[in-house]
């Protein structure tokens, strides 16, 4: 089916099912219950799940397959966002031209950067991409927003104003839409105590993610994907066989850049503004973390990682001292206060501390990511030997 073998087709159908049913799956707790704060089934968060899923899938094509660690992918996401917002400003709020342009611009941008960065490998490559991303960030933040040539609107961020031309707008809607289908229109389905929200923006993004996943799947199984894996395994040997690996690398880099551009365009499509902070290197670090956490080089890993990080970011940063006190209120007051004091630095505004610790723990103990961890547990349960796991996902021993 779809040119996939049986196992891949099953994975693909699984992803489709999970994505389309996300409003149900992510809303396991009744709306009024105390656990409702752990629900993730509201439009804003679900949109971020799939958008960052796309970003991570794209990053995985570069990092997972070739092993080249880029620390500057957020730049492509940022460029995509800017391009999309410019389309909103100039044409109309229809998202299709915006997303098309964001992919194209990010692709060209990554072609230029990749052409230079890919002359080096290893940590040089990481540092070069980092340098380019920081340079783009610095330029977007200051240089490109002077009064005579305001491309990025600096610190405020680029947004659509009523005075913008919007030549094709006519009498179309005043918010982002897909041929009239407004991105923020939501239908709520109430079943008993549950309320499930179906958001147009989420489903549009989900459609893009499914397409992105399909393309990634095909790349993974193609001769091209095999070539990329060969680069990861032993680039020197590949070069000695007479193959020039650079065009393959560049293609992988540009493809992942276009994925990032698509994610950036979708971010702008769900919320039409773009800021320079999207290009900062912490944002690049985040996508690296998503990919590693889920499992670099695996198909499902990046999507899982993205959802995992975005979910915990959202939930953890919402927990404040009041919430903690209600949780532990059954205990004696001194223990309650002690527990709250211990947990306090890790939640709410301190969420990044948890993120950093998680990052370290994953890299130290689970280099294969969640997918590999799950696989190991599964094999332990079924009693199968580990030799059957995918050799790509198989991590090297720590020592």
């Amino acid at each position: 089916m779809f040119g996939l073998d049986k196992k891949d087709a099953r994975t693909f159908l699984f992803v489709i099912a999970i994505t389309l049913l996300a409003p149900f799956i992510l809303n396991p707790f009744p709306t009024e219950s105390a656990l409702a704060q752990f629900n993730a089934g509201y439009p804003d968060l679900m949109q971020r799940f799939v958008i960052f899923g796309i970003f991570a899938i794209g990053f995985n094509i570069l990092f997972g397959l070739t092993g080249y660690l880029s620390f500057g992918h957020a730049a492509f996401l940022g460029v995509g966002s800017y391009a999309a917002v410019w389309m909103f400003k100039l044409l109309s709020f229809n998202i299709i031209p915006a997303i098309a342009l964001s992919i194209v611009v990010a692709g060209l941008f990554s072609l230029a950067i990749g052409y230079i960065c890919l002359r080096r490998s290893g940590i040089y490559f990481s540092i070069l991409t980092l340098a380019f991303a920081q340079m783009s960030f610095a330029m977007a933040y200051s240089v490109l927003s002077n009064p005579s040539f305001n491309l990025t609107n600096g610190e405020t961020g680029l947004q659509v104003y009523a005075s913008d031309p919007q030549y094709l707008k006519g009498n179309g809607p005043d918010i982002t839409h897909l041929f009239g289908l407004e991105m923020n229109s939501t239908t709520t389905l109430e079943i008993g105590a549950w309320a499930f929200q179906f958001n147009a923006g989420f489903y549009v993004c989900a459609a893009f993610m499914i397409a992105a996943f399909y393309i990634a799947l095909r790349i993974f199984r193609s001769p091209f994907g095999l070539m990329l894996r060969a680069i990861k395994t032993n680039q020197t040997r590949l070069n000695y066989t007479g193959l020039n690996s650079r065009p393959y690398m560049l293609a992988a880099f540009v493809i992942s850049g276009m994925y990032a551009g698509l994610a950036g365009g979708l971010l702008a499509a769900t919320d039409p503004l773009a800021g320079a902070e999207r290009m900062q290197w912490t944002a690049s670090g985040e996508v690296v973390l998503m990919t590693i956490l889920g499992g670099a080089g695996t198909l499902l890993g990046p999507v899982l990682g993205a959802a995992f990080i975005k979910y915990f970011e959202n939930i953890f940063s919402k927990i404040n001292d009041t919430v903690l006190h209600t949780w532990f209120s059954f205990m004696p007051e001194s223990i309650e206060n002690l527990l709250v004091a211990i947990i306090h630095p890790f939640v709410g505004k301190g969420w990044h501390l948890t993120l950093g610790l998680m990052f370290m723990l994953i890299v130290i103990f689970l280099p294969g990511g969640l997918v590999d961890g799950g696989m190991r547990i599964w094999n332990r349960i079924t009693g199968r030997s580990r030799t059957q796991t995918d050799p790509v996902a198989d991590p090297k021993p720590a020592e």
Binding site: F63, G67, L69, F71, I116, R119, R120, S121, G122, I123, Y124, S126, I127, L128, L130, A131, F132, Q134, M135, A138, M139, S142, V143, L144, N146, W281, T282, G285, V288, I292, P345, G350, H352, L353, L355, G356, L357, M358, F359, M360, V363, I364, P367, K396, A398, E399
Partner: protein, 340 residues
């Protein structure tokens, strides 16, 4: 002439910070072969040691002064720092004023300890893992350091004044017949970093320990076969590198009020410096640090920014890109070291 010299001076203090951080990075890379993304965070921790010491010295005892009364006639409470109560008022004030230089004494053992714990507890397990893993785990560590500091000291920059005697302006060029007033502390910083850098080089060049370390950098295996415990020495070098970063941070605090994301700001630039200087080359790191610092300061002149807007923000990256493409091993890199 004055203007040019002024820009050179401007570049020297930032260049000193780059050079010190890059020196530490190169030491770690040259000895242990590890890419330490947490090195900027060590620099930041150094600055916060100065902040902490200043706060500790300002801890005050609250006494009631019977002689003074506020406007309602109640006795006035007076805050006296403990050091003033112990050593007398004038000596106490001097101690508080000199808290930043005093922090040097505190920062060396603290950073050595952090360095040892980091190397033995974490980095050691990553020698045989790919560079990407090393980058990732130290990156995670950098986030953790940064967030801990943020949780303790808050997100705002903290003013950390220099001693009053060194806070003024020196007219440096007076004996050259030039008028060149310049903040004294920045000159102190440059001199200080020159001392630290020469100290590290002297340590490596003129002591037996340094000789063994250099031998280990050249051929670790052979040194190990000679029955020398090279790992222990490399661990110590990691501590030294951390201490150098800490020293750079302590003394930088009066120049620029420290805040928690300092580490990341300097780290990216320091890596660029290392790459420009040549991975694994200690003199290269120092040279490139000063060069890029001076270059950055020239790019920040009004002439440069009006003709090439934004050049001051991207000049370092531009130079790095040109160097990496034209001379991949960097200014002073040895042939064949990390060249591909």
């Amino acid at each position: 002439m004055d203007a040019i010299l002024l820009q050179v001076l401007n570049g020297l203090d930032k260049g000193s910070a780059y050079a010190l951080i890059a020196l530490g990075l190169t030491l770690i890379f040259g000895t242990l072969g590890v890419v330490n993304f947490a090195h900027g965070a060590l620099f930041m921790i150094g600055a916060f040691v100065a902040v902490t010491l200043q706060r500790v010295l300002n801890l005050s005892i609250e006494t009631i002064d019977p002689d003074k009364k506020d406007f309602l006639g109640n006795p006035l409470k007076v805050q006296t720092p403990y050091v003033e109560a112990w050593f007398g008022e004038s000596a106490g004030q001097v101690i508080i004023g000199w808290s930043v230089p005093l922090a040097i004494l505190a920062v060396i053992p603290i950073m050595l300890l952090i360095g040892f714990v980091m190397e033995r507890g974490l980095i050691r397990h990553f020698y045989k893992r790919p560079h990407a893993d090393q980058i990732l785990v130290t990156f995670g560590l950098a986030i953790v350091f940064q967030e801990i500091v943020k949780a303790i000291f808050g997100a705002n920059p903290i003013q950390t004044p220099a001693p009053e005697a060194l806070a003024g302006v020196w007219n440096l060029g007076a004996w050259l017949g030039l008028s060149l007033p310049y903040p004294a502390w920045r000159i102190v910083y440059f001199v200080f970093s020159a001392i630290v850098i020469s100290g590290v080089f002297a340590f490596l060049q003129f002591t037996t320990f340094g000789m063994v370390v250099r031998a280990g950098m050249a051929d670790r295996e052979t040194v190990g076969l000679l029955g020398i415990n090279i790992d222990r020495r490399f661990t110590l070098m990691f501590g030294v590198a951390a201490a150098v970063a800490g020293l750079a941070g302590v003394m930088y605090a009066p120049i620029n009020p420290p805040n928690y994301h300092w580490g990341m700001d300097f780290l990216v630039l320091s890596f660029v410096v290392v790459v420009v200087g040549g991975m694994g080359s200690l003199p290269g790191a120092v040279l490139a640090g000063f060069l890029l610092g001076i270059l950055e300061s020239f790019a920040s002149t009004t002439w440069a920014t009006t003709n090439f807007p934004g050049i001051n923000q991207i000049i370092i990256y531009l130079v790095a890109i040109v160097i990496l493409l034209a001379r991949p091993r960097g200014l002073m890199g040895r042939k064949g070291v990390m060249e591909e």
